[in-house]
């Protein structure tokens, strides 16, 4: 994974902290709960200093009880609060699964009551953290109608999308790619801004091939695009940003232009979000296709710990270049 780019400005993790801080300043109904988020400031220090400023009523340390405090988020949201739940690692969101899919996601459908709530946590691999601290669980949640699922790929989007998520009246799952936390920086606007949910972003324009990606793989895609350009291949890179509900139009428009599509995702292959986008293109963009839709993803396996294993496991720039080459033959 490459993280070249603008190394001045606000880091991805600071962008997240800023979004939380500014939103909490703006709206007193927002509060955060999670493990070790108070005095400790969170496992990754996203909420460092928050408890001093906002007080322990709005920055609430929780016992280890994901099911309970996610369900409590729903209860508080129904009472008019806007809870933000931090899961210490995205991997542990599995411990609150039932409350998310059966309570939070299905509430509005049954009762028309809004559940304005964000569940956020650090996801993704690349840090030698092994099978239980490296997962990309977004694919599961993108298969849960009633949820919105966001995985930002840049500091700008991280901040703007988190603000939008907090202001949204639905339960939103927001995964922060922890590999990007301190590796990616960007100069951010000084004023308040949001980034619309369910809107993809063309991060790089191109004519020959479309890469649809998101999260940390955006950097991989951009690096592959740069390298392909050296060979004269013009690659368009679409960053999904929101992976559910999807922005079909941006994807289909890009494929209409390039006629060739690569799905790049860090999640495991089968039923990772790239599968859905392939299916959408194969149904709604079929007429425009000049070649197969190639998926470059992690394999169907847990995420291993050892560096050579993890490197093999994760999609690399060369894998993307190989896919580009293959498509160029069509």
């Amino acid at each position: 994974m490459s993280t070249a780019g603008n190394q001045k400005g606000t880091s991805y993790i600071d962008a997240i902290s800023q979004a939380l801080w500014e939103e909490m300043e703006r709206d007193p109904s927002i509060f955060i709960m999670g493990e070790d988020i108070g005095i400790y400031g969170g496992a990754f220090k996203v909420t460092e200093g928050f408890i001093d400023h906002f007080g322990p009523e709005r920055v609430i340390d929780m016992p280890i009880a994901e099911e309970a405090f996610i369900g409590m988020g729903v209860g508080a949201a129904l009472m008019g609060m806007r809870p933000i739940v931090e899961v210490q690692y995205a991997d542990f969101i599995s411990c609150g699964w039932d409350q998310i899919v059966n309570v939070a996601a299905k509430m509005h459908y049954r009762t028309r009551d809004a559940v304005p709530m964000v569940i956020r946590g650090p996801s993704g691999a690349g840090l030698r953290a092994g099978p239980f601290h490296s997962q990309s669980p977004e694919g599961w949640f993108a298969h849960v109608p009633g949820l919105k699922v966001i995985v930002p790929g840049t500091p700008y989007d991280a901040k703007g999308l988190l603000k939008a998520a907090i202001r949204d009246d639905n339960p939103v799952i927001y995964f922060e790619h922890k590999y990007l936390y301190r590796r990616l920086k960007e100069v951010l606007p000084t004023g308040d801004y949001t980034v619309p949910i369910s809107k993809a972003d063309v991060q790089r324009e191109g004519d020959d091939v479309t890469i649809v990606t998101y999260g940390a793989m955006l950097q991989t895609a951009l690096e592959a695009a740069r390298r392909a350009q050296e060979k004269g291949i013009s690659v368009e890179v679409v960053d999904l940003r929101t992976i559910f509900p999807l922005d079909k139009d941006t994807i289909l428009n890009s494929v209409a232009k390039t006629s060739k599509a690569i799905m790049l995702y860090e999640d495991t292959r089968t039923l990772g979000i790239g599968a859905e986008i392939s299916a959408i293109i194969a149904e709604e963009g079929f007429e425009n296709l000049d070649g197969p839709i190639i998926r470059v993803s992690s394999p169907d396996a847990p995420i291993p710990y050892s560096p050579p294993l993890e490197d093999f496991f994760l999609p690399q720039v060369d894998d993307v270049l190989a896919a580009i080459d293959k498509l160029s033959a069509y």
Partner: protein, 325 residues
């Protein structure tokens, strides 16, 4: 806000009686309708549990929140849920509280202070704790109450939510209706502890066992817990001992239950007991009782007719309201 006292006045006693009788009448009608194949879904009857269903919930005030579970339709009556709403819900009609989306007893109305629960047990224990957390954060003198069966106390959510509520000292009352069975499973196969309420010691919160068939006791103990919660005293666990008088759901003849047990508990019928109490105090006569029952029966018949005449939702509504906005 006028807060109910520990002592119930005549009007309150008669209101409680009305809710118990109404609950019984609705359920008897649901049972008939179910057996006649008139309901698309299932029924989970709380017959015999009227005392705790109504008595505990009656201890709440406007603005408080109730989170019942599958068998606790009757607990919603004091919150203002009506017979018409209950039947339109079972009949899956468009004018039900869930517009035909939700089933059986899974309805609610936030404005009237009661949640629409889900099947997964006891998922609304955390939700109720979350409502209580909102009250605490906002410094509101409101209380959340949640019910579940003794079977649901085996589930992790039960433990997690009570522990968190204890640590955060939340204004929430946890009711467990111990009705002897979880589906076909008798209590001794669910837990080895003698009383569910003994589990309160695991959270350093007060625990109380009440006679679940004595509506006055159910009310009083719950009222104390509600008051304590409202006054910042934190959560309480209340176990109501009673008996499930029907099968788990409409389809279950409950052959695994000894008839002696059913007979025994039939003699402890909470409605009959409460009637005797009212009669002793001169608050009820054979005649006034008949009058109340007749009125309730008419109300129920009216509600059934209303539900049967109500339209179904249109198919395309199936994809509406997945999201807000």
């Amino acid at each position: 806000m006028e807060v109910k006292s520990l002592e119930l006045n005549t009007q309150q006693l008669m209101e409680i009686y009305y809710f118990m009788r109404l609950g019984r009448a609705i359920e008897e009608r649901l049972e008939l309708l179910y057996k006649g194949g008139r309901l698309p879904g299932a029924i989970y009857l709380g017959r015999g549990q009227e005392a705790i269903e109504v008595g505990a919930s009656y201890a709440l005030e406007p603005g408080d929140m109730l989170a019942p579970t599958h068998r606790d339709m009757m607990s919603q009556l004091p919150r203002g849920i009506t017979a018409k709403e209950i039947f339109t819900q079972h009949y899956a009609r468009t004018n039900s509280l869930t517009r035909g989306k939700g089933e059986d007893n899974y309805q609610g109305d936030l404005k009237r202070g009661t949640f629409a629960t889900v099947s997964m047990l006891p998922d609304f224990y955390p939700v109720a704790a979350g409502a209580a957390l909102a009250f605490k954060i906002r410094n509101e003198k409101r209380v959340a109450m949640t019910y579940c069966g003794e079977g649901a106390t085996s589930v992790g959510d039960w433990h997690e939510s009570i522990n968190v509520a204890s640590v955060l000292n939340l204004p929430v009352v946890f009711i467990v209706i111990n009705n002897g069975y979880a589906y076909s499973t008798p209590v001794y196969k669910e837990m080895k502890v003698a009383n569910v309420a003994d589990r309160a010691c695991a959270y350093a919160i007060p625990g109380a066992v009440v006679d679940g068939n004595d509506v006055i006791e159910c009310y009083r103990e719950t009222k104390k817990a509600v008051d304590r919660a409202r006054d910042g005293g934190g959560p309480t666990l209340i176990e109501a001992k009673t008996m499930r008088m029907r099968g788990h759901a409409g389809h279950d003849p409950a052959k695994y239950m000894a008839t002696e047990i059913i007979d025994l508990w039939t003699r402890r019928d909470p409605i009959v007991r409460f009637e005797n109490y009212l009669i002793e105090r001169g608050l009820l006569t054979d005649e006034s009782k008949r009058e109340i029952i007749n009125r309730i029966n008419a109300e129920v018949e009216d509600a059934v007719r209303f539900a049967e005449e109500s339209p179904y939702p249109e198919g395309k509504e199936a994809i509406e309201d997945v999201y807000r906005g």
